[in-house]
């Protein structure tokens, strides 16, 4: 089974064309930015995610400020937001060099006003403050982000829920459905359906959700004993053999 990291570094959904751009020197060719941007919008529509390809777009923007397209950057950040707790969001921000002052008042750059919002949302996910995330996400303050961007990003809310599930799955063996509900921003029937969808079980009388056993929520105390390899002893044994 491919590891978390290898799926991240090269998702199975990546086409050979994109692979060629991501891994080769063609990634620096400004003429290829369109291909990568199209691929980003494909990810937005198809619930796919390819961090390295998106970083390649930001790299081209970094070297060629003329190519800069704020909508693309915002979409990349939205995609990266839901990969928490992995550091994708910060990796993307890292590549956003200082931008020259916007000279065109007719087309204001939406990024400067949205970036603090996105960063706060990211910090909330990073700190597992899920109820606070939903409260902020649903607030009026974030309306323009919702109406102009996340609404286009198919399955955005569910990918936030994936972040929640990753955190809960690792820390809990059982969790009350109220608590899980506030984390997932789902209530009653929706919650029950969601829990069923991911094959967890809910006890109808107590409302306690059982989280299936996995390597992270199964703990045991262990004593690690030292394990000596023969190779460590080669010198000693060889010397003894010579001396005898």
């Amino acid at each position: 089974m491919p590891s978390v990291a290898s799926t991240w570094a090269s998702p199975p959904t990546r086409t050979p064309l994109i692979e060629n751009l991501v891994s080769g020197v063609d990634r620096y060719n400004p003429n290829n930015v369109g291909i990568l941007e199209d691929y980003l919008y494909h990810q937005i529509r198809s619930e796919e995610y390819d961090c390295l390809a998106n970083l390649a777009i930001l790299k081209l923007y970094q070297f060629n400020p003329d190519l800069y397209n704020a909508d693309v950057v915002i979409n990349i950040l939205i995609k990266a937001l839901t990969s928490a707790p992995f550091p994708d969001f910060n990796l993307c921000i890292s590549l956003l060099d200082e931008r020259p002052v916007n000279t065109n008042p007719d087309e204001p750059d939406p990024l400067p006003s949205l970036l603090p919002t996105l960063t706060t949302l990211h910090n909330l996910l990073q700190q597992c403050r899920f109820p606070a995330f939903w409260a902020m996400y649903r607030s009026d303050e974030v309306e323009s982000l919702r109406d102009n961007y996340t609404v286009e990003c198919v399955g955005f809310e569910n990918s936030v829920r994936d972040v929640v599930i990753r955190a809960v799955k690792a820390a809990f063996t059982r969790i009350s459905s109220e608590r899980l509900g506030t984390y997932l921003d789902l209530a009653e029937d929706d919650l029950a359906a969601y829990v069923q969808k991911i094959s967890w079980s809910i006890d109808p009388s107590t409302g306690i959700v059982s989280v299936p056993r996995n390597p992270d929520n199964h703990i045991e105390s262990t004593v690690v004993q030292e394990n000596i390899q023969l190779s460590q002893l080669t010198k000693v044994v060889a010397h003894a053999a010579q001396t005898v």
Binding site: A9, Q126, V224
Partner: protein, 603 residues
């Protein structure tokens, strides 16, 4: 030569006293001589003047330096690596100390007659000339532009001649060429970003010269060297265990030559560095995907390269939040440096390596505060010595943020922005000066601190959990004086902080890895009960026994091989054999068994 010099003196007795550059400057401006001697055209006169300047400069070169340059040139012409190395590593530095510790070496044009105007040698000479200017003096804008042009000429010669060039240079020098190229690029970017303190002349030059030291041109050189040398194909073939003949077939006429092979390899490491400086930590590790990090590779003979590689790899791992991988990289190279220390005699590198090592101790302290691991005792003792105070603060969560900040800024790479300030547009430039953007290092610091802040509650939680095997979540929240729900959320953060992607079984490529648990304290929440489990590691004896058995064997061999004493002198002989064993034995010997066990950790 002396003939020429004589002629020069005849022409102008006072040459030594005249400020020649000033004379030329005045001449160009006021044109008095134009009227006086209209038949001599300006260019010729300038050329003559310049020649005179050069001859005067030539006259001032000490003979020992002239002999050195002639000798150096011969060594390069003959591809005599031993002689080149001697000239490069000791001769040049010795003469620098003696004659040029505060001034430039003679300009290449001045020494050209000594080397028959050999353009290739002059390019190499300029490479050293400018490196000296950057390291000992303050490069001005002309130096910066000319060193760029010279680098371009050098790489142009290497890459665009008809076939591979027949030049051979020591590996150390090849590394220094790439290293210096990137250093000068980085230095230029930092200098360029300070738009406020530029003179008018500098502003004009900067507005015109957007290509000089551009990121694209630097990457272009590095990628071209990589492709020409087929170094990636070479590395893959080595991993597949191909024979020397097969490899020669694969890498072609360039790649078989040590010069291109090593430049190719160093360029891969150069890319790692450039991408790190630009804040692209993922790509930095991706370009290294064919490089196997171990100390046995044939490419690790240049210590400075080896150290640079691990420093940047380790740093990138920190930014990818892969602290165990970062720790492994630092431990491995810091132990290597400790072992190397006793053999290191080439002092001009030694200082630099020590500085990098010190920054890696700081980064190691950072990683260890964020992801406490069972440490390499050697390294952690040194860290305690140097950064003990900061480490204690960093292990306390929120209040340790200033310590994180201090160590990060001290130890991080010298980040740069990819693009120049808007020099070509005075209005935008004024706006830029008015409101300068956040410096790159501060930007990356901010991102790093956001990671640190996210896991700030973890140390406190951990210290409480250590005391229990299970307890009620409400009770824990009371201890912490926190709201229960908030505490549960922090527990999830703690869980995430104790997991990390890491390379565990020699995965191919530095980006690959598997999810591992990084902490010996683990917990799980069962509705409202927190259960805690701690893994302990049994005491390790084997290393100590093996080391001491080997030592005992050496002592035994020593005694056995000494000549039998003549009977009356029995006592001194016994002394001799203990003396030979003394340095190694002195560690564990003093004190009783308790101390000896204690020193297992420290050894």
């Amino acid at each position: 030569m002396s003939q020429q010099r004589k002629a020069l003196w005849d022409v102008d007795e006072d040459l030594q006293d005249v400020d020649l550059s000033l004379a030329i400057g005045n001449y160009g401006q006021n044109g008095i001589y134009d009227e006086a001697e209209p038949r001599i055209d300006e260019a010729t006169l300038l050329a003559v003047q310049q020649q005179m300047v050069q001859q005067a400069a030539f006259a001032q070169i000490p003979d020992v330096v002239k002999r050195f340059i002639v000798h150096f040139h011969h060594a390069v012409l003959e591809n005599n690596l031993a002689e080149i190395t001697a000239a490069y590593e000791s001769g040049w530095n010795r003469l620098t100390e003696k004659f040029y510790s505060k001034t430039e070496w003679p300009e290449a044009e001045v020494i050209a007659p000594l080397v028959n105007d050999d353009q290739i040698f002059l390019i190499l000479y300029r490479e050293l000339y400018y490196r000296h200017v950057y390291s000992r003096l303050q490069p001005d804008i002309d130096d910066r532009f000319h060193s760029y042009e010279n680098s371009c000429e050098l790489f142009n010669y290497l890459l665009n001649s008809d076939g591979p060039v027949p030049l051979e240079l020591p590996e150390q020098w090849l590394w220094d060429i790439i290293d210096e190229f990137i250093y000068q690029y980085q230095s230029f970017c930092v200098w360029r970003s300070k738009a406020k303190s530029k003179t008018d002349e500098e502003l004009i030059l900067l507005a015109d010269a957007s290509q000089v030291w551009s990121s694209y041109s630097v990457l272009n050189v590095l990628y071209s060297l990589i492709q020409k040398s087929k170094i990636n194909e070479h590395l893959v073939a080595l991993q597949e265990g191909k024979s020397a003949e097969e490899i020669a077939e694969i890498v072609g006429e360039y790649g078989v030559r040590p010069l291109y092979r090593m430049l190719g390899y160093f360029s891969v490491v150069g890319l790692l560095r450039v991408h790190s400086l630009l804040g692209d930590f993922t790509l930095a590790l991706k370009v290294m995907e064919n490089v196997e990090l171990n100390q046995k590779s044939p490419f690790t003979r240049v210590t400075a390269c080896h150290v640079t590689t691990y420093y940047y790899v380790g740093f990138c791992y920190i930014m990818l939040r892969r602290y165990p991988d970062a720790i492994r990289a630092f431990v491995s190279i810091l132990n290597f440096i400790l072992r190397m220390r006793q053999y290191h005699t080439r002092s001009y590198q030694y200082d630099q390596i020590n500085k990098t090592a010190d920054r890696m101790y700081a980064l190691f302290a950072i990683c260890n505060a964020l992801s406490p691991t069972r440490l390499d005792d050697n390294i952690s003792n040194i860290v305690k010595e140097r950064y003990g105070e900061q480490f204690t603060k960093m292990s306390r969560g929120e209040e340790g943020i200033p310590a994180f900040e201090e160590l990060f800024l001290y130890a991080c790479p010298k980040f740069i922005s990819a693009n120049p300030p808007p020099y070509e547009d005075p209005e935008l430039r004024a706006a830029y000066i008015e409101e300068p953007p956040v410096e790159p290092a501060q930007r990356h610091l901010g991102l790093f601190l956001s990671e640190v802040r996210a896991q700030a509650p973890v140390p406190t939680l951990r210290s409480f959990l250590k005391l229990y095997t299970s307890l009620d979540a409400k009770k824990l929240a009371n201890f912490l004086d926190a709201d229960e729900e908030k505490m549960v959320q922090q527990m999830m953060v703690m869980k995430q902080a104790s997991r990390s992607v890491s390379r565990v079984e020699n995965e191919k490529g530095l980006l690959d890895g598997q999810m591992i648990s990084t902490c010996d304290l683990d917990f799980v929440i069962d509705e409202n009960m927190v259960h805690i489990a701690e893994s302990t590691v049994g005491r390790r004896y084997a290393g100590w026994f093996i080391r001491n058995t080997e030592h005992a064997q050496r002592v035994f061999d020593g005694i056995r091989n000494s000549p039998l004493p003549a009977p009356p002198k029995a006592a001194p002989v016994a002394n001799v054999s203990t003396d030979s064993a003394a340095p190694a034995a002195s560690g564990p010997r003093p004190g009783g068994p308790r101390v000896a066990w204690g020193s297992v950790k420290a050894a």
